[in-house]
């Protein structure tokens, strides 16, 4: 029986290869992406565990030793450490990366919480001399252990010897400033020194790091852990009797949350596609097996007559599905595990900084393989249960043709007016509903994959145009230094005819959720535009606050509801009514006009200027200017951010195209095989090969058109899944341009017509006598 299995597989190699390929592709994509996610998640957890990433950060005062002792007594606090956080500049020159990059400086007392992990050089020990630099920054700047670096802090310059290079768990991902959408490591960096090296007078420990007892580094931070962190924060405020303290947990840390949501997004993608592939492979197996079985009906009868039991025969035929899906899945898992994670991790290394990035095999991959094999085998059982259950005397004879009455259409007067080929095809479709349905499903699968792949590209491309064509119409953005006096900013705004804007990190609270976001305060001007949920133009009220659509979703609020916000680092809370909801692809939070902001007794502190004038590149060198970004640069930065998504889409599109060809070819072969006898009959009746091929093509086109229509609907579903896990800071629209509808339509139809044309060439080889012989 094993030989029969192998030879049957060989004889029907195209169909079986397609089933093998679909099992392969589904598991390939799943295991590939899942191993990447699992591996990176494990690396992330191990890294955070090794460095003991802080759970809570408290800022807003100079933490004395007594304060620290008090904090350590707080219920739930395992350990606490203080550090001095400040910003300086490294006095370095580079044409490519810019001069005097910003340096985040941490002056430490110890390395116990959020400790650095040494890449090269000496370990940091309390009280030691020298400076430690973040490895990525140092490498980009060509700095190494033993070199010296001059740092400017406020107005003081000091030179230090580089003692080591490190990875910092709070800087897996970090950007230059709030306006940056993508890291450009090397333009800014992180440095760590001992507090004894602080060059100014009176060091102020402005940050306390808490290691909480019941918050671990495994998995993403849970809601319970977030509540716990908030409680600990409240207790610390009470112990220190300081309501102004700002408490932040690690889920609010940009580095932590960005990396988590990136992995989460990959995980979602890894599920969507295998499901599609498995469904299509099931379609393949059900058609292939049911047709194989009806062809082998007499063989089944013979085996039964020879004494084989029904169970034995059933197991034999089920083993087709089992063997193919088993080897397809195992092979897919092996290849997927070996190739995809490396490819994706390769793309990651430019964005995320981890000391180790490795793939890892999860039990989920194993479960998926078992599921794939089990479902395929089960479907094979379903496909062959009828033929196998026949008694031998019945099975030894070919199935008698189905007798069906005249359908409603056939009885209508319209019927006689239809041409021969239309009538033939309509009858054929009605009499072979399952076959027609499978054909349509194949075309739908093909259209769905093409449509979702093209739609994914469209939606990604759209975001850039949406942001910088519709919402932000400025030519240039001038970013001001943090402490620039208001008057200076106003002068620049006047000089360049610009609109002043304040962008500040805030914490937003609704009854059900707490999220970090951006507060955007607009001065007079018309370079920022707003759109409602359906992307219709809206004018923002000067009196009320507007909330971004994605943030409203995350907070679970709607227009008219109230939310509370406070600036990160400040304790003053503001309760506002959500006056309007607007959409913005890249910044989620609150937007309001200066009038509304000042009406809340807040001081307008512009952080950037938008202008339509061209700005001299030399402006960057001015002391109060952080950066000058042209719209082209911003678009490039946005596109760069989308690169990762493009690459993921590219993997999926490739798989989709292979799948589409395989599915259509497979269904085409089977369908024609089944119609051989009918075609022979038509030949006997005197129809030319060309006419018969025309009839076949006509039916194929009808079925493909119906399938494509359903493909569009299913494609939207896939897009929904793909975009459901965008990072929290992003909003997205599923946009599909008319060209993609057309390309999907043309692509599917063309593929289907070509496959049908190639396959129907066989019509001329059909020998009427052979095809009709032996049938009763």
């Amino acid at each position: 029986m094993t030989r029969k299995l192998l030879r049957d597989l060989l004889e029907n190699k195209i169909q079986f290869l397609s089933i093998f390929l679909m099992s392969f592709l589904g598991i390939y994509v799943f295991v590939g992406i899942n191993s990447e996610v699992t591996g990176l998640k494990a690396c992330e957890e191990r890294y955070y565990e090794e460095c003991n990433l802080g759970d809570i950060w408290v800022r807003g005062r100079d933490f004395s030793l007594a304060d620290m002792a008090d904090i350590k007594t707080v219920n739930g606090v395992k350990n606490a450490a203080r550090r001095l956080e400040t910003k300086g500049k490294a006095l370095l020159k580079s044409d490519e990366l810019g001069d005097d990059p910003d340096l985040t400086l941490y002056f430490l007392e110890d390395n116990d919480i959020s400790g650095i992990k040494i890449y090269e050089g000496k370990n940091y020990t309390p009280g030691c001399m020298g400076i430690w630099l973040d490895k990525t920054f140092a490498k980009k700047r060509g700095l190494g252990v033993g070199d010296t670096i001059t740092v400017k802090l406020e107005n003081k310059e000091f030179t230090e010897k580089i003692e080591g290079l490190f990875y910092h768990p709070e800087f897996v991902y970090y950007v230059e400033n709030m306006a940056s959408m993508m890291p450009s490591y090397g333009r800014y960096g992180v440095a760590v020194l001992d507090i004894s090296e602080y060059p100014l007078d009176d060091p102020e420990f402005n940050s306390a790091l808490i290691d909480a007892e019941d918050i671990d580094n495994l998995g993403d931070m849970t809601d319970e852990e977030k509540i716990l962190a908030r409680r600990i924060g409240e207790r610390i405020k009470i112990v220190l009797d300081d309501k102004q303290l700002v408490v932040m947990d690690k889920s609010e840390l940009l580095s932590y949350s960005t990396f988590s949501s990136e992995l989460q997004q990959h995980r979602s993608m890894s599920f969507a596609f295998p499901i599609v592939f498995v469904l299509i492979s099931l379609l393949g197996i059900i058609t292939t097996m049911s047709r194989l079985l009806s062809r082998q009906r007499v063989q089944i009868g013979t085996l039964k007559a020879l004494g084989f039991s029904t169970r034995r025969i059933m197991v034999h035929y089920m083993s087709y599905g089992f063997v193919l899906s088993f080897f397809g899945s195992i092979f897919g898992a092996l290849v997927g595990y070996r190739t995809l994670p490396a490819y994706i991790i390769g793309m990651f290394t430019d964005t995320y900084i981890l000391p180790y990035m490795r793939r890892g095999f999860s039990s989920l991959s194993f479960i998926m393989i078992v599921l794939e094999v089990a479902i395929t085998t089960l479907i094979t059982w379903y496909a062959c249960r009828r033929e196998c259950a026949l008694i031998p005397a019945e099975a030894l004879h070919p199935a008698s043709p189905k007798v069906t009455g005249r359908s409603f259409l056939e009885k209508s007067p319209l019927w006689d007016k239809l041409g021969f080929s239309v009538r033939w095809n309509l009858r054929d479709i009605m009499r072979n509903k399952l076959r027609s349905l499978m054909g349509a499903a194949g075309a739908a699968g093909c259209a769905m994959l093409m449509f979702s792949a093209l739609g994914c590209m469209d939606s990604l491309t759209f975001i850039t145009g949406w942001m910088y064509g519709e919402i932000n119409t400025a030519k240039t953005k001038i970013l001001m230094e943090e402490d620039t006096p208001y008057g200076v900013t106003v002068d620049y705004a006047k000089k360049y005819g610009g609109q002043m804007i304040q962008n500040t990190s805030i914490v937003l609270r609704s009854d059900t959720a707490v999220k970090t976001g951006t507060l955007t305060v607009l001065d007079a001007g018309n370079l920022m535009h707003f759109q409602d949920e359906k992307r219709g133009h809206i004018v923002l009220s000067k009196k009320e606050s507007a909330l971004s659509y994605r943030m409203a979703q995350m907070l679970g609020v709607k227009e008219g509801d109230f939310i509370t916000w406070n600036i990160q680092g400040e304790d003053e809370k503001h309760r506002v009514r959500v006056g309007q909801i607007y959409r913005n692809p890249s910044a989620q939070g609150i937007t309001m006009y200066r009038e509304a902001f000042e009406a809340m007794d807040c001081k307008f502190r512009p952080t950037e200027i938008l202008t339509n004038m061209s700005v001299d590149t030399g402006l960057k060198d001015e002391e109060e200017i952080t950066d000058v970004q042209s719209m082209d640069e911003m678009m490039a930065s946005m596109d760069e951010m989308m690169d990762m998504m493009y690459s993921m889409a590219a993997i999926l599109i490739t798989a989709a195209v292979v799948l589409a060809v395989v599915v259509l070819y497979n269904l085409g072969v089977l369908s024609l095989l089944e119609k051989r006898r009918e075609m022979a009959t038509l030949k006997v009746l005197g129809l030319s090969t060309k006419t018969i091929r025309g009839i076949l093509q006509q039916q194929n086109i009808w079925v493909t058109l119906v399938g494509t229509l359903f493909g569009y609907i299913a494609g939207f579903g896939i897009l929904g899944v793909m975009f459901s896990d965008m990072p929290e800071g992003m909003d997205y629209c599923i946009v599909v341009y008319p060209l993609s509808y057309m390309l999907t339509f043309i692509g599917t139809l063309l593929l289907s017509v070509i496959v049908n044309h190639v396959l129907s060439a066989d019509v001329k080889n059909i020998e009427m006598a052979t095809a009709l012989k032996g049938q009763e």
């Binding site: 063989q299 039964k304 007559a305 020879l306 004494g307 039991s309 031998p392 005397a393």
Partner: protein, 234 residues
């Protein structure tokens, strides 16, 4: 000679629309061990239905089917499968070889259903096809395929060898050769062979001739002087 199989008042009824149709009705007959039995009758007489019932490939709707004293009409699917596997060999009109297996593999397949099978090569030698052991059915003539089918049937050393129009698809010479082979299996190996045919001249080689018409056995006659296959006319 002892009785191997007895059919008592056997009926096979099919439902055709609102009416019952009897393929067999009130059939009584006995098959002795080691006999060459030929069942004769025109098309539609019920010959194949009778053969299917004898071989456990179908169940009667009434009557007793006694094989070595046991009523196989009462068997369930599993018991019938076991009966076919252990006691029955079948030779079909259109050979029904598994096209994806070689001659040898087709015969060797029987090891999967019965433990103490004859050596497949020996069976092929018996039918004179040891040279063709590794050919696929499609590479063989009709006569050769039928001989493989016989080799497959005897490999199980069945007590009952059933042949449904075994020469129906063959020319005169090849047909005679196949009949000679079946007679040899019967006479030399001592197997009971039951052959269904519409060719009346087959009666001359049989030990017992059963004539069937309109679903009934019209006669069961012993042939005292069975002849060789050479006398058969087509």
């Amino acid at each position: 000679m002892s009785v191997l199989m007895s059919l008592r008042n056997i009926e096979k009824r099919y439902r055709a629309g609102e009416h019952d149709f009897y393929a067999l009705k009130g059939v009584d007959l006995d098959i002795d061990e080691g006999e060459m039995v030929v069942i004769l009758g025109p098309s539609g007489a019920g010959k194949s239905t009778l053969l299917n019932l004898i071989g456990g490939m179908d169940s009667p709707t009434g009557g007793e089917l006694l094989f070595e004293g046991e009523d196989i009409a009462l068997y369930n699917d599993d018991e019938l499968t076991r009966f076919r596997a252990l006691s029955v060999g079948v030779v079909f009109q259109f050979y029904n070889l598994i096209p994806t297996l070689t001659a040898y593999e087709n015969v060797a397949l029987m090891r999967d259903v019965k433990d103490d099978c004859e050596d497949p090569m020996r069976c092929l030698e018996m039918v004179g096809l040891s040279d063709h052991a590794h050919q696929f059915p499609a590479q063989m003539s009709g006569g050769e395929q039928q001989r493989v089918s016989i080799a497959r049937a005897i490999a199980k050393k069945p007590k009952l060898l059933l042949c449904d129009e075994p020469t129906g698809a063959l020319d005169t010479d090849t047909g005679r050769e196949v009949l000679r082979l079946l007679l040899r299996v019967c006479r030399e190996e001592g197997r009971t062979v039951v052959m269904v045919t519409h060719n009346a001249s087959f009666a001359r080689i049989a030990d017992t001739v059963i004539r069937v018409k309109n679903g009934k056995v019209v006669s069961q006659v012993k042939n005292e002087n069975p002849e060789s296959a050479d006398v058969i006319n087509y």
